[in-house]
């Protein structure tokens, strides 16, 4: 578990930020839209209970529960994840500072392990590895980075009764992005709700994973992904990310975003 968590770090929430595009007419500028997605209003703060439920190719199910708080500090966003279940993971915490993409700074992250009774700094440079051993990688759940790819608008498609913009994202040289491990993505965006509803990930031309939103809710005026699945086409299996009991703008104190909360957990 240690190594899973050590290698972990990042923002589960931003999965939700994997989501938002602004564009309504047929001729869109993908880079601009992605910047709007990245900077989408997700409230001043948010608190959620989340469940990561991983079903492996042999049918083994591993479930993890956590509490998460996030807050905007200008262009910076801070988050704390506090694991509450199962027992061998409970008490573990992750603190994350995400910076404005233009600053060129990598995220800062810390991991608290109850067995150590201290927090450890985590390197955040490479994000292609699995997040907590799930089918999500660190790159999948980090705050959207527009400059990882170049984009091509491929018009609109109908999906589940919604009109979605289809955008192809490719690396400039056609090779894997060394940070994310992907060479291409196919992104389907609900422009009205500013959410990515489906995301296909490719490596060396091979379709390796698919992210799909199964349920959305309007919570306090913010469209919130409450049920999403990442399916792994290489290893088999899938991971569901469920967001429960979400509240926005409750005035979470600045002081909650430090190592003290990592140690004591989110109450």
């Amino acid at each position: 578990m240690n190594i899973l968590l050590k290698s972990s770090a990042i923002t589960l929430l931003s999965l939700v930020a994997l989501s938002a595009f602004a564009a309504s007419d047929s001729s869109i500028q993908p880079e601009v839209l992605l910047e709007q997605v990245r900077d989408r209003d997700e409230g001043d703060d948010r608190r959620s209970r989340m469940i990561l439920e991983q079903t492996m190719s042999d049918g083994f199910v591993r479930s993890r529960e956590l509490l998460m708080i996030e807050k905007k500090f200008g262009a910076e966003r801070k988050a704390v994840l506090s694991f509450t279940a199962p027992a061998d993971t409970a008490g573990t915490g992750i603190l994350m500072f995400s910076y404005e993409e233009a600053s060129g700074k990598d995220d800062d992250q810390w991991l608290y392990l109850p067995a150590l009774r201290q927090s450890r700094r985590i390197a955040t440079n490479s994000k292609e590895g699995p997040f907590l051993g799930t089918d999500f990688s660190f790159a999948d759940i980090e705050r959207l980075r527009v400059n990882d790819y170049i984009y091509e608008d491929q018009g609109t498609v109908e999906m589940n009764g919604r009109t979605l913009h289809k955008i192809v994202a490719k690396t400039a040289n056609g090779l894997e992005n060394p940070r994310t491990g992907y060479s291409q993505r196919m992104v389907f965006v609900d422009a009205e709700r500013l959410l990515i509803m489906r995301d296909e990930f490719y490596r060396e031309g091979r379709h390796i994973k698919t992210f799909e939103v199964a349920e959305l809710k309007d919570i306090d005026g913010y469209w919130t992904v409450t049920d999403a699945t990442m399916t792994n086409h290489v290893n088999g299996g899938f991971t569901k990310l469920l967001r429960k009991e979400t509240t926005y703008n409750t005035g979470i104190a600045d002081r909650m975003f430090n190592e003290r909360t990592l140690r004591s957990g989110i109450q």
Binding site: M1, N2, I3, L4, K6, S7, M56, S57, F60, V61, R62, S63, T84, A85, P86, A87, D88, A90, G91, K105, D106, D108, W110, P114, A115, L116, R117, Q118, R120, R121, I122, A123, T124, N125, S126, E128, G129, P130, G133, T134, N235, G237, A253, R255, N258, E259, R260, S264, Q267
Partner: protein, 403 residues
């Protein structure tokens, strides 16, 4: 201890917000079969059982934490009375402390742990909780917190905008717990019949830590005044006694990412540090420093550390001590396997090594089976080599649960 309890009562009476309490708890049980390797001599290692319960009660700003631990080692069923009493069974209220939190303050009082520093395995500035070495470092590898001894402490944290400051007062003495003579991990240098303990002096440990995050760096400063964690032997009034020499330390830590790596370091200067010599305890001074590098990628974790200690003591011709460690962990999450390899090296006059390899498999949710091997290499006079006959394989079954 009485003062600590009074303080807690005062906090409760004076404005600690009492909300409806909530309880959370977890624990584990573990059974372990142990076998000596090849030519190693000694009793049958038998079975080792461990059970742990951990609970937390939250009531607004006030929180109570407790940990109960029980262990049984069948190896010592037939040992001499002294060894059996010390080694066969543990039933311990390991931790019990209250935490009172305000916006910028936090106070923790009771039997607890506080880790200082950024090092693994090597304790450069981690001075507060002495180790329990009855099974040498083996429990420490499994779970750092179970290898250390909690003690009564009053810890006050102040969370400023730039700096976090921590003041610790430990009013009771606590010393490293050693394996008794006749048990597997009894150290060479201690006599079979331990002399009486001398606890003259106030016994108070006091320390301060300042912590800040600056330009991507985690920076910590430390100061400590108190007692060495180890008992040493001295002559007093023609009698051999054990006592903890006094210790004064200042130190610092730093951690920062470097690309795919994290760099971390601890450094400390002990202005006053006792050292065992042939004629008793000698006060001296030393400087210790550690550099560590961690790299994590695709469920691999590589950890490298190098530590050095230099004594400022011309008379004794004491050697500098070099220590290093390499650990490699790999999580094969698709196969629910975890593998780990640790290699520790100690170099003073001669070198010695400790190897530990583990494979763990989660065959059902929260059920794990693991096999681990431990080997000690070196001369009998060295840190790890003195346990050269204690190489072993351990097969464990563990269940974690929530309450």
């Amino acid at each position: 201890m009485l003062r600590t309890q009074l303080l807690l009562v005062l906090l409760l009476v004076n404005g600690a917000v009492i909300a409806a309490p909530s309880f959370s708890g977890k624990g584990h049980v573990e059974a372990r079969q142990q076998q000596r390797i090849a030519t190693a001599e000694g009793d049958n290692l038998g079975q080792r059982y461990e059970g742990l319960l951990e609970g937390q009660v939250n009531s607004g700003r006030l929180k109570a934490n407790t940990i109960l631990l029980g262990r049984y080692r069948s190896q010592y069923d037939d040992a001499t009375a002294d060894v059996r009493d010390e080694m066969r069974t543990d039933v311990e209220l390991r931790e019990l402390y209250l935490t009172w939190s305000a916006d910028s303050f936090e106070i923790r009082a009771g039997k607890q742990q506080q880790a200082w520093g950024r090092a693994d395995y090597f304790r450069i500035v981690d001075v507060w909780n002495p180790l329990d070495l009855r099974e040498f470092l083996l429990p420490y590898f499994d779970n750092y917190s179970l290898g250390r001894q909690p003690r009564g402490m009053l810890i006050t944290d102040y969370f400023g905008d730039t700096w976090e400051q921590q003041l610790i007062i430990a009013p009771e003495r606590k010393a490293t717990r050693l394996a008794p003579a006749g048990s597997d991990f009894a150290v060479n240098s201690m006599p079979a019949n331990l002399p009486a303990v001398n606890e003259e002096g106030n016994g108070l440990d006091i320390g301060w830590r300042g912590k800040t995050f600056w330009s991507g760096n985690d920076i910590e400063l430390y100061a400590f005044h108190g007692y060495h964690a180890d008992y040493m032997l001295a002559m007093k009034n023609s009698l051999l006694i054990r006592e903890q020499p006094k210790r004064n330390m200042i130190g610092t830590s730093l951690a920062r990412p470097l690309g795919d790596w994290v760099f971390r370091t601890d450094a400390a200067h002990y202005m006053r540090e006792g050292r065992q010599t042939d004629v008793g305890i000698k006060d001296g001074s030393r400087t210790s420093a550690l550099m560590g590098f961690d790299r994590m990628k695709n469920e691999w974790m590589l950890n490298l550390q190098l530590a050095a200690t230099h004594w400022y003591d011309k008379e004794s011709n004491h050697h500098d001590v070099w220590e290093s460690s390499i650990s490699v962990d790999k999580n094969w999450s698709r196969y629910r396997l975890t593998t780990s390899l640790i290699w520790l090296v100690n170099l003073a006059e001669d070198s010695s090594q400790l190897w530990r390899a583990t494979i763990s498999y989660e065959f059902l949710p929260q059920w794990k089976a693991s096999i681990a091997g431990v080997s000690f290499v070196g001369k009998n006079s060295t840190q790890f080599g003195q346990f050269d006959q204690q190489d072993r394989i351990m097969l464990s079954l563990r269940k974690d649960f929530s309450l």
